[in-house]
């Protein structure tokens, strides 16, 4: 978990990228590199949002324990 980029780190990096692009004065290749990085981060963030969606499982303690012990 620690070596992966977390959602909030991705958002923070995106904000940095957007701000430096908005300030401008960046060489073209750097602009393209930042855009690419930003696009990848956005894709990651969208995946993170989608990954939180799932089922509601309500289980009895003993059932979970027995399944974990299988």
């Amino acid at each position: 978990m620690s070596d992966e980029v977390s959602y909030s780190e991705a958002i923070q990096r995106l904000e940095e990228i957007v701000q430096s692009l908005e300030r401008g004065g960046i060489p073209l290749d750097e602009t393209l590199r930042l855009y690419e990085e930003g696009a990848k981060l956005l894709e990651f963030c969208q995946q993170e949002l989608a990954a939180a969606e799932g089922k509601l499982n309500e289980m009895k303690l003993a059932d979970i324990e027995s399944k974990l012990a299988e």
Binding site: E48, L61, I64
Partner: protein
């Protein structure tokens, strides 16, 4: 029953006498279901299931027994506890021993004892550094929350409703446990252990779950004793030992439990836990969208700027082929500076010159106009004066040949030639009959 010694029947056997005493005690209301208080000493829970102890105070003591299964024994009762018992006085005939047979036993000032233990636990945890330890970071977007609480409880219903408001369909697993009563501490511990195991991807996969990344443990409000499981050491240690962040969500805002002190996050109520850990789905979608738009807009603007720059660069490079590409940007901006300086300087010069030109042109035009007017007047006069037709009015006529050439000398005439006479009001054709040459030789 006999009272006193009777020579005819002899002495009474001791056993009979003891049983006599026992029966007397058993039938005396004074000694049955008596409420007695005292301190416990020689507390012993025997392997046969019975519990033996002595009840004592400064003025006396008496043995006591709790037969197995006769009554619940508070696990807090121990050597030195002050208790109240409801007991029958009995005599154990074989040992000749008077003892209390306990029907009920309760701690005196139980809450005080609990508070003392809680304080002690907090002191121990502080000494171990568990209260000041670095807390685990909560996920911004939890992907699988385990909720350990009473199944079917109002607290659970509140949490589920709130989660659906904030992040519809957020993945969660409810682990139903007892949250009060004798079994509560052990069930909560087992729930925490199961949830912690579910944070291990391989174990979670056995239930076809993605790993749990956040645990909420708690219950709704109640009497202090009802919440007490969350002040007990096993529960508290299980929270510390969990593999993923744990949110303690017990009771009402005013209830502060040891679980609150060790958890990675303290929520004042179960609903508050949801508010703290479940983000707002719409907010994050909007955040993503706005970052995308800003990224796109800013990049486009830079690229357009650069395209313009490049076009300028391209045209300038044609005039500066020896400059390196790496200097090109600098070169372009130098050029731009020079250009703007030149333009600015030139512009001032041009403006001055233009001013002068304008003046000159205006003056010249005025003069020329005046001159022309004069000249035209002169020309008009001279033209009028030299107009041959004016002469014709004075009686002269002009001779031309057929082609319109003016004939002014006799030498240009031939006898029989047809000529045209121009007169003041018209013309006439004539034929030359005779030529007389004059003296003048012009």
């Amino acid at each position: 029953m006999r009272d006193g010694y009777d020579l005819t029947t002899g002495p009474i056997p001791v056993g009979q006498f003891v049983n006599l005493v026992r029966n007397t005690l058993r039938h005396d209301k004074l000694f049955q279901n008596q409420v007695i208080t005292g301190e416990i000493t020689q507390w012993k829970r025997h392997s046969n299931g019975h519990t033996y102890f002595t009840l004592i105070d400064s003025d006396g003591q008496i043995s006591a027994v709790i037969w197995q299964g006769r009554c619940a024994i508070d696990p807090l009762i121990e050597e030195g506890s002050v208790v109240v018992v409801i007991a029958n006085l009995d005599l154990w005939a074989k040992a000749g021993k008077i003892q209390l047979v306990v029907n009920k036993i309760a701690l005196v000032n139980k809450l005080g004892i609990l508070e003392e233990r809680k304080k002690q636990l907090i002191t121990d945890l502080r000494n171990e550094g568990l209260l000041d330890r670095v807390r685990r970071q909560l996920p911004t977007i939890p992907k699988h929350i385990a909720i350990i609480t009473g199944s079917g409880s109002a607290a659970l219903a509140d949490m589920n409703r709130l989660i659906e408001n904030r992040w519809p369909g957020l993945r969660r697993t409810i682990i139903g446990v007892m949250v009060q009563g004798e079994n509560a501490p052990s069930e909560i511990v087992r729930g925490l252990l199961a949830a912690s195991k579910l944070s291990v991807p391989e174990l979670a996969a056995r239930l076809n779950f993605p790993p749990v990344d956040l645990i909420i443990v708690g219950r709704g409000g109640g009497a202090p004793e009802d919440l007490w499981a969350f002040n007990l050491e096993p529960v508290v240690r299980a929270i510390v030992a969990a593999q993923v962040p744990v949110v303690s969500a017990v009771g009402h805002e005013s209830d502060l439990l040891v679980s609150d002190l060790v958890a990675d996050l303290r929520a004042s109520t179960p609903s508050n836990a949801v508010e703290l850990v479940v983000p707002d789905y719409d907010y994050h979608q909007m955040l993503n969208l706005s970052l995308f738009e800003r990224l796109d807009d800013a990049s486009k603007r830079i690229i357009i700027d650069w395209r313009n720059n490049l076009q300028l660069l391209q045209s300038r490079l044609l005039n500066a082929p020896l400059r390196g590409i790496y200097n090109a940007n600098q070169y372009v901006s130098d050029l731009a500076n020079r250009l703007s300086n030149i333009v600015a300087g030139r512009l001032a010069q041009e403006r001055q010159q233009l001013q002068r030109f304008t003046t000159i042109i205006q003056l010249a035009t005025q003069k020329k106009l005046a001159d022309e007017t004069t000249r035209l007047a002169i020309l008009d006069t001279s033209l009028n004066s030299s107009n041959p037709r004016n002469v014709l009015h004075r009686g002269y006529s002009m001779i031309t040949d057929k082609s319109g050439e003016v004939i002014s000398k006799t030498g240009d005439l031939i006898e029989g030639q047809q000529i045209i006479l121009a007169l003041a009001d018209g013309s006439a054709k004539a034929t030359v009959d005779d030529i007389e040459k004059g003296d003048k030789n012009e």
